[in-house]
């Protein structure tokens, strides 16, 4: 991954920074230039809750080449306590034990390697709590 492209997303991937619309209160993750709900452009930066529940999940057994050494791995959609939803891997779990509705927490993990000479890419993964 190009370093600049990776660098731009660090506030979101490392710190869960989101933008909250000052007019309607809608939370955008990642931040946007326009609020999709009320179309205004004034926001405050907030940090998302790192806990939530699993809305759905799958176990990826056939991946793109980039993730082929990681298979099988679980990916799910988590609804955080502030209602924001994110797609994330679910780590440190027996994939057969996963259940819709279970509580999870986002933690800081390595997500992928950019080949032998590229950078390590970090971000959030969910674990069961």
């Amino acid at each position: 991954m190009i370093t600049a492209r990776y660098h731009r997303e660090i506030p979101q991937r490392y710190r869960l920074e989101a933008s909250k619309c000052l007019k309607c209160g809608h939370i955008n993750f990642p931040p946007r230039l326009l609020c999709p709900e009320c179309k205004t452009n004034k926001f405050e930066t907030i940090k998302l809750s790192d806990e939530g529940k699993l809305l759905t999940f799958t176990v990826v057994r056939v991946s793109s080449d980039r993730f082929s050494k990681e298979t099988p791995f679980a990916v799910g959609i988590v609804e955080l306590n502030d209602s924001v939803k994110v797609t994330t891997q679910i780590a440190d779990v027996d994939v057969d034990e996963l259940k819709i509705g279970q509580r999870v927490k986002l933690i800081f993990r390595k997500i992928q390697d950019d080949g032998k000479a590229g950078i390590h890419c970090y971000g959030y993964k969910a674990i069961a709590i």
């Binding site: 990642p30 759905t56 799958t58 980039r66 959609i77």
Partner: protein, 383 residues
């Protein structure tokens, strides 16, 4: 708006066509369509393709195809809307004729997927690269998450998913252009290799090469050529968040709901008026959700409808994917939306042989991109 009529169609066989290039595929389909229409020229053309840049390193497809089709200097435009590229190309051709700008327009679609690209990676570019794909999700994975949520919310079963694949293979076995002309059993589907739980290999549409093209024209042109009049009653398109997780519901595809609502209104038809429907069954769950969101069945009943055979040709209730669908006919991504229109064109012309729906007068095609961020719906009627 002027009335628009489909006056000709042509397609390649779909499959792993290693001996044919993307140009060979498109020109074969386009030539067949032009010959089938019986026109001596086209005013303009569109080429739908999802990602020739990543699949084979070739962009600027409008110009490439106009050159190889020998129709320079007419306007030629590449249309991209992920897996809905073909359907949107058809819509552009429709709009160009309806608006009065052109009288005879070719809408084609093509994809060359077997030239060695990492297909899973290329297809994933239709999702949110930074907030979905970065985390390792794939397209089977996204639809698997829709399936899990649908099973959890509505009680949809593994057997119901399999019923979609069984039915579509049964139809595809009767389609000479299909990639897979073999029937499968529910047991084979449910014992096939797991790709992304709960979706198995036989829940997934294949990687395919192929092209399809149609000619649309004014009513005057169609009448002069003495054609059966297959009129485009409605063309509609809708969008939704690029990321699946951005949606209010994980089990309803709002772009399908909205595109369908607009199409029914434009056509002055309702779901029960449809005699034949082609839906975007990139995965078995996608057909179940699409048949619900198009209003063919009550929300949550799509799985039951498939398992009860309500979508089969024999049942005569509402035959879905008589062509074999993406599942059995194949899914050369950019060609799919056009191939769906061709199935309707042939059904409405009574030209589908063993898979013909008796007395088919009105048909609908639903083509979508990504996990539902784009959807395009067309309704055709034989008049």
């Amino acid at each position: 708006m002027r009335d628009v009529v489909v006056i000709g169609a042509g397609m390649t066989k779909f499959g792993e066509l290693w001996g044919k290039s993307i140009k060979d595929l498109f020109v074969e389909a386009a030539t067949k369509a032009i010959e089938n229409a019986g026109v001596d020229h086209i005013d303009s053309m569109y080429a739908g393709a999802m990602s020739s840049g990543l699949f084979i390193g070739q962009e600027h497809l409008g110009a490439v195809m106009a050159d190889y089709l020998g129709v320079n200097p007419i306007p030629a435009t590449h249309v991209e809307s992920a897996c809905a590229s073909g359907g949107v190309a058809f819509r552009q051709a429709f709009l160009e004729v309806a608006s009065g700008v052109s009288d005879i327009v070719l809408a084609g679609g093509v994809e060359k997927m077997t030239d060695g690209a990492d297909v899973t990676d290329v297809l994933a570019t239709a999702a949110d690269q930074e907030y979905e794909v970065f985390h390792g999700i794939t397209f089977p994975g996204l639809y698997a998450m829709i399936a899990q949520a649908h099973m959890h919310q509505y009680g949809t079963t593994r057997e119901q998913l399999a019923a979609v694949a069984v039915k579509n293979h049964r139809n595809g076995a009767k389609n000479p252009n299909a990639q897979f002309r073999n029937e499968v059993t529910a047991e084979q589907v449910m014992n096939s290799t797991m790709v992304s739980d709960p979706l198995r290999l036989l829940d997934c549409s294949p990687v395919s090469d192929g092209a399809a093209a149609v000619i649309v024209a004014t009513m005057d042109v169609a009448k002069k050529l003495n054609k059966n009049l297959i009129r485009v009653l409605a063309s509609s398109q809708a969008s939704d968040t690029i990321a699946l997780h951005g949606r209010k519901s994980l089990t309803t595809l709002n772009s399908v709901v909205k595109a369908a609502e607009k199409a029914y209104k434009m056509a002055d038809k309702k779901p029960t008026d449809m005699n034949v429907v082609e839906v975007h069954d990139c995965f078995t769950i996608a057909e179940i959700v699409a048949t619900e969101d198009l209003g063919l069945f009550e929300k949550g009943k799509g799985g039951e409808a498939a398992a009860n055979g309500w979508t089969s040709i024999e049942c005569k209730m509402i035959p879905v994917n008589t062509s074999g669908g993406l599942k059995s006919k194949g899914h050369p991504v950019g060609a799919t939306g056009i191939a769906q229109v061709i199935e309707l064109y042939e059904q409405l012309n009574g030209a589908c042989g063993a898979r013909q729906v008796p007395n088919a007068h009105v048909g609908m095609a639903q083509n979508m991109g990504g996990s539902g961020a784009s959807c395009v719906v067309h309704i055709l009627e034989a008049i």
